[in-house]
């Protein structure tokens, strides 16, 4: 492998602080216009800062160039295939950005009197109604800021529900294959995690569930589940699981990370779930932004409703000939309270509501169909040739919107770890699948193509995997030292944890 440096690799990374030069500036500020006094007359000297923070000094053209250059050192969804499992990297319609930027949305102060924010409250109410229908649960709070925030909300709701019945339960069941946020949220909510085993299909191991319920009788507050599960398989026992949990007095929580598989086909509420979080940045097209923002609204059943966070957006029937109006309801005596400031990530609500309007009920169902079709097609393509031998599917049956391969034979036979395959895919212009998750599959690769991808992209990805495996049969070393063409090559991640350098040192 020729190791000629690419132009981007040759360009040394320089931070904006390193480009700073005293006396340069971009901002032009308005004049004060008012009679000025020395600052120390207005604020006591001992509360004032001696030296301004050492922010960069740089002119506007160079700021623009700096961040444009940095942007080219990112791979993004608009550039290519991004089959990151459980992340639902679907197209981000630019229409949504346009409507979110309308001044009536973007420049609306969150403390505006509800009577003068009727459009915003109506939009939130309409989104609540839409999510309620999609989830099959009657009540929605839009407040949580992300999926993990929704999980915390769900667990605090569970706690409030039990407390209101005079019960204090201490344990939350979660499959050992659950997303890492599940157990982390459980601890934050003051509960103890009890792991439930997973059967070979990635579903809940029913005997173990019964055993854990018996061992912890009267103690189980909740079971947290993802369905379809982390292997991309629908848990056929869900109705029975729900009745076992409900008989034991617990609530059933749905991690909505995989909702994109079932929109318009099956609803968590109908499966027996009490609380669902929805990742608007996954199924409802909010751009991921390189790590946020998102939003994690929750939908709940009647018995959980009294405890929902406040304020809640409500529709009030009009009187005296006025039409209905929308308001923020703070009078919720059993509410768990606030989870954050103001009303939630409204800009995300605008985008997701625009997405729901664009697709409609039929379009959402079709999006899920295409997502499932794409996943099964790619799975079939990867069952052929070398991939079929070296990267077998973890559980061989039809999948929903994603599937998991095991790189165990590849590692054994070719000496190539899943990480090596992932890094080599970068050279082929693909974002790799999620790697090493779920934990129950050795050398796991979790692939979620979403409905966004055309057949051609799926074919190209399958061909790239085939090429990498063929190449490795000849020279395994190529993939083991990959990537070669990216702005930097493999990075020392251990050092960043052992001797963390988390800010620039300035003179």
């Amino acid at each position: 492998m020729a190791l000629t440096e690419t132009p981007m690799q040759a360009e040394k990374a320089q931070t904006i602080f390193e480009k700073s030069k005293t006396g340069r500036r971009a901002a032009a500020l308005p004049d004060a216009e008012v009679p000025e006094k020395p600052i120390a007359e207005l604020i006591p000297q001992n509360l004032l800062r001696a030296e301004p923070p050492r922010l960069p000094e740089i002119a506007e053209p160079e700021i623009v160039r700096h961040y444009n250059r940095l942007s080219r050192r990112n791979f993004d969804l608009d550039t290519g295939f991004y089959p990151l499992g459980s992340c639902t990297m679907k197209h981000n319609p630019r229409l949504n950005e346009r409507v979110a930027a309308l001044p009536g949305h973007a420049r609306l102060h969150p403390a505006q009197d509800p009577r003068r924010a009727q459009g915003a409250l109506e939009l939130m109410w309409l989104l609540q109604e839409s999510l309620s229908e999609i989830c099959g649960l009657p009540h929605v709070s839009l407040q949580p800021s992300a999926g993990s925030h929704g999980e915390l909300a769900g667990l605090l709701l569970t706690r409030a529900y039990h407390a209101d019945r005079g019960e204090e339960r201490t344990k939350v069941l979660a499959p050992d294959t659950s997303h890492g946020t599940n157990p982390a949220s459980v601890t934050m909510a003051g509960y103890e995690v009890v792991k439930v085993a997973t059967d070979e299909q990635g579903g809940v191991e029913m005997d173990d569930l019964r055993a854990k319920l018996a061992e912890n009788a009267g103690e189980v507050a909740c079971l947290m589940l993802t369905n379809p599960n982390t292997l991309g398989v629908f848990d056929e026992n869900i109705a029975e699981i729900a009745s076992l949990i409900h008989e034991a007095g617990g609530t059933l929580y749905y991690d909505g990370a995989n909702l994109n598989a079932v929109m318009g086909h099956s609803r968590p509420g109908d499966m027996g779930f009490d609380i669902v979080h929805v990742n608007l940045h996954k199924s409802f097209s909010q751009p991921h932004g390189g790590g946020g923002p998102g939003a994690g609204p929750i939908a709940v059943s009647d018995r959980i409703e009294p405890y929902l966070p406040k304020p809640q957006v409500v529709r009030r029937e009009g009187s005296n000939g006025h039409g209905p109006g929308f308001d923020l309801d703070f009078e919720r005596p059993k509410s768990i309270g606030r989870l954050r400031g103001f009303q939630g990530n409204f800009g995300v609500f605008v985008r997701s509501y625009a997405y729901i309007l664009s697709l409609g009920g039929d379009g959402l169902a079709e999006a899920s169909e295409t997502a499932v079709l794409n996943a099964n097609y790619l799975k079939a393509r990867l069952a052929e040739g070398r991939a079929g031998k070296r990267l077998p599917i973890a559980f061989d049956r039809h999948c929903m919107h994603e599937f998991v391969l095991s790189g165990k034979p590849m590692k054994r036979e070719l000496g190539l770890a899943t990480l090596d395959l992932a890094k080599r895919l970068l050279d082929f212009g693909f974002h790799p699948p999620t790697v090493y998750f779920p934990l129950l599959v050795d050398e796991a690769l979790m692939v979620e193509p979403t409905e966004t991808e055309a057949k051609e992209s799926l074919d190209a990805f399958a061909e790239a995997v085939e090429k990498i495996l063929a190449e490795a049969e000849d020279v395994a070393e190529i993939a083991k030292s990959a990537p070669y063409t990216t702005p930097v090559r493999r990075l020392d991640e251990v050092r960043a944890t052992r001797q963390p350098v988390v800010r620039q040192q300035l003179d």
Partner: protein, 466 residues
């Protein structure tokens, strides 16, 4: 309606053949029959792009935003001017559409932005360690509480009533979960009651929470108040408004262990409350207890400088139930907006903006205090926001002033019943002297109506308000 997908009927057929099924329905058969919806969702049919635009534009039209109304409302989110380059850079697809940078080799842009952002926030707050961002302000404060429990093994919080009411409420919500007691300390003359605070802090206290400027706009003497925390080994956690940190002594120089806050004033829209970001900075001692993503500098195999997610062993995807927090979002795009805004302001501009806010706020405070029926709620020093007490019902006054196209401020009564007709007025660089003068005049007229001034009543009738 088919949108944003490419599969033609021919594609579908070929794909179904490759899978070995006759229809997509067959793939959904793994869902037990009783759990299949079996009907279309009861939602409207899909709409064209033009129709969706019109529908949402019509909703937006029904909001009195800061373009239609002169906005003196603050209370944690402010109508600052966000420079055009922020929109240009944050709308680049390379920043807008990637996921969290799990593959650092193809995410150097986003990771370097995080590193720069951490450096900037560390400079602002005067603390050495910053994370890459949290959801927003109040939940960042609650996360600091969670950190303090782990750091001190104590379960009691003391919080000033000067801390944003949303932050206090959020801390209480979280505390019910992680099992902490929250004790509130009152205000005296607009500032945290120092004697009551010293009284409230004890050897069981995990953290003391202050905010400066506090919710009433008053600049607190954090250093003096924080002594009580130091004495008892509690963490000192300080919420602050980043826009004031060009002027005010940074929390890190006042003994704070953690400085955090709502990041919206930096490069973010009002957006009716979000998305924005929360910032979170701490001393070195807390680095392995920090919530959220942190970027770190490292090298690639050829010795090139690069950036990765550092200290991942704190996080949920590795530590699961032992993680320092469950959060995995960094509000990366919002933090990018902040970084670009800060670079645009630059070292000098950032300070100048702070000075501008202080000068205009001082003018506005003086101007309003001179209005008949308006009194200062406190006389403590302020930076960019101040509180007044009205001699008329605040809601009525706000309605009357709104008729003149002005959002006069944030009514304090709901969250501070002791200030029933209190009003919090915020200043940004967008609020001109002329607007401040008009606000003073409008407030005076609106209050006069309730004070029974005949002229005012007549004026009101003439305007058709009554």
């Amino acid at each position: 309606m088919t949108r944003y997908t490419s599969a033609t009927p021919d594609d579908r057929q070929e794909m179904l053949d490759a899978i070995g099924v006759s229809s997509v329905d067959e793939l959904f058969e793994q869902i037990p029959e009783p759990l299949r919806l079996g009907r279309p969702l009861a939602l409207p049919d899909g709409m064209s792009e033009a129709e969706v635009y019109e529908r949402l534009a019509a909703l937006a039209e029904r909001n009195a935003d800061a373009e239609r109304q002169v906005c003196f409302v603050g209370a944690g989110m402010y109508d600052h001017y966000v420079p055009a380059i922020v929109d240009a850079i944050t709308s680049r697809s390379e920043f807008l559409t990637p996921y969290t940078p799990y593959q650092p080799e193809i995410s150097q842009g986003g990771l370097q932005v995080m590193f720069e952002f951490q450096t900037a926030m560390s400079e602002l707050t005067g603390l050495p360690v910053s994370n890459a961002g949290l959801y927003e302000g109040p939940s960042a404060l609650a996360s600091a509480g969670y950190l303090a429990l782990g750091a001190t093994k104590r379960k009691r919080f003391v919080i000033s009533r000067g801390v944003h009411p949303h932050s206090r409420e959020t801390l209480r919500t979280y505390s019910v979960g992680y099992g902490a007691e929250v004790v509130e300390v009152g205000l005296e003359g607009g500032l945290t009651d120092a004697a009551a605070l010293a009284e409230a802090v004890d050897g069981e206290t995990a953290a003391v929470f202050l905010q400066s400027p506090n919710f009433l706009g008053a600049v607190e003497d954090v250093e003096a108040l924080g002594a009580a925390a130091k004495e008892h080994g509690a963490l000192l956690i300080v919420a602050c408004d980043p826009m004031t940190l060009g002027i005010l002594k940074p929390p890190g120089e006042c003994g704070a262990d953690i400085a955090l806050g709502e990041g919206q004033p930096l490069g973010n829209r009002l957006d009716f409350g979000g998305p924005s970001f929360g910032f979170f900075c701490a001393t070195e001692a807390q680095i392995r207890r920090m919530p959220g993503r942190i970027a770190g500098e490292t090298e690639d195999v050829n010795g090139r400088r690069g950036f990765v997610l550092a200290l991942q062993t704190r996080e949920q995807h590795i530590r699961r139930e032992k993680a320092t927090n469950n959060i995995c979002t960094a509000q990366a795009l919002n933090a990018l907006g902040a970084m670009v805004h800060l670079a645009w302001l630059g070292r000098q501009g950032f300070r100048e903006l702070g000075e501008l806010l202080v000068q205009r706020t001082a003018y506005a405070r003086e101007r309003l205090a001179a209005v008949d029926g308006v009194e200062l709620l406190h006389e403590a020093p302020v930076a960019r926001e101040f509180a007044v007490q009205l001699a008329a019902p605040v809601d009525k006054v706000l309605d009357r002033v709104a008729e003149r196209g002005i959002a006069a401020g944030y009514p304090l009564g709901r969250e501070y019943p002791e200030f029933e007709d209190g009003l919090l007025v915020a200043i940004t660089e967008r609020r001109t002297k002329a607007q401040i003068d008009e606000l003073a005049e409008a407030l005076g007229a609106a209050i006069a109506v309730d004070r029974g001034g005949e002229e005012a009543v007549e004026a009101e009738i003439a305007e058709g308000v009554a």
